[in-house]
Amino acid sequence: TDALNVLLIIVDDLRPSLGCYGDKLVRSPNIDQLASHSLLFQNAFAQQAVCAPSRVSFLTGRRPDTTRLYDFNSYWRVHAGNFSTIPQYFKENGYVTMSVGKVFHPGISSNHTDDSPYSWSFPPYHPSSEKYENTKTCRGPDGELHANLLCPVDVLDVPEGTLPDKQSTEQAIQLLEKMKTSASPFFLAVGYHKPHIPFRYPKEFQKLYPLENITLAPDPEVPDGLPPVAYNPWMDIRQREDVQALNISVPYGPIPVDFQRKIRQSYFASVSYLDTQVGRLLSALDDLQLANSTIIAFTSDHGWALGEHGEWAKYSNFDVATHVPLIFYVPGRTASLPEAGEKLFPYLDPFDSASQLMEPGRQSMDLVELVSLFPTLAGLAGLQVPPRCPVPSFHVELCREGKNLLKHFRFRDLEEDPYLPG
């Protein structure tokens, strides 16, 4: 009868290159383990493949044509309407709401405050080492430091001796420890930075992906019939020092094959590094005995092209740019409640060759959208699902444009199991 907590994990630029989505190369044992106890949506799509518009869209439950944010330069409450957000709705329903890392895109698109105090009970946390992400911290072959795209690092060598996602995990665990004894339920959003560029990750993760095992995209050419307006010229990739040195012609010049392999290697290594952070966070949730009272939602703001159609990064309508992972763990519903002392999410080391691929617990093949996150999380937590938005809805503070996905959580075998609660 107690309210369920919510842990919302938002990853930056993560396409579904994960074991639980059928990727045979990528090592993501901790996310796979989460999926094994969850409902996984195979066909989930973002509403716009760029950070700020996508995040504002799914965090308000409205499409970009309603938030009127297509770039990075306006705050929806001023520019479009005073729309409620997911965390705001939970806060107004008695939850303690907390933000760690990149949840809202920072800057004017979230009022330079991550939409605080509307959305959050406390000022959002940002890791102190975030400020080095785009500085010259990547050791090049010349021994000098550069602002490269490919940036495997020795963590002991980087400023502050840590990386943003490590700090975010530590902060999130501290907040979970504090909330364990709280009388109020919590809504904790953790936004991880990787695998967003630059690929700045602990260098040991490269060893998981020897270059000789890295294939190119199956379709690395710009398709003949692609209208030029549809093509994304991946300008942010070109601006990195190591890519500039390749002297690639704009807009269609291809990246040399050897460098394409290195980009893919570093993307996958960044995903495995991210997986370890998710693993540490979920293991802590388990250790604190919060796994039986916490809904976990895992997703990404959009995907990322890895050379398909001669494109890199996001910024397009191709599926590789809009297709996202979407996974919900609901205690007692997507999996049985853990027994006393049982761990659902023990930390799994991606370097452990003995670890077996875990299949998703339950899957849906239906097409779904990130705008559905708002009504679905509200419904799963037992809150009233916001009503559908009228058209237009600029004057309506609380409504949702996405479908409520609750029907996907009705499992006949669970409903027939008299020993399961709920």
Partner: protein
């Protein structure tokens, strides 16, 4: 209801031809919006004129289109838009 099984996305562009800000155009520079509908069978996209002052798309000002069938072209490399009765299909499936 086929609309129950559709996912929508969109992306703005400043021009018909790729240029320095095609990836991340500022609102004032957006001239074209690419609206996509996805079903389990296909992705259909129309790139239409867009007025950034009024936030209005003009669906009679079509700059380009894309149509990819999931079964025969899962990687979306063969644009069938010009081979299709695309406009009719889009009108049918508009939200």
């Amino acid at each position: 209801n086929p609309r129950e099984l559709i996912a929508y996305s969109q992306y703005p562009r400043p021009s018909d031809i790729p240029q320095w800000n095609s990836d991340k155009p500022s609102l004032k520079d957006i001239k074209i919006m690419g609206y996509s509908i996805r079903t389990i069978d296909y992705r259909y996209t129309v790139w239409v004129g867009f007025n950034p002052d009024e936030f209005l798309a003009n669906f009679s000002d079509i700059h380009a289109g894309e149509l990819y069938f999931v079964d025969s072209d899962p990687l979306q490399d063969h644009n069938m838009y010009n081979d299709s009765q695309g406009g009719d299909l889009f009108q049918l499936l508009m939200p």
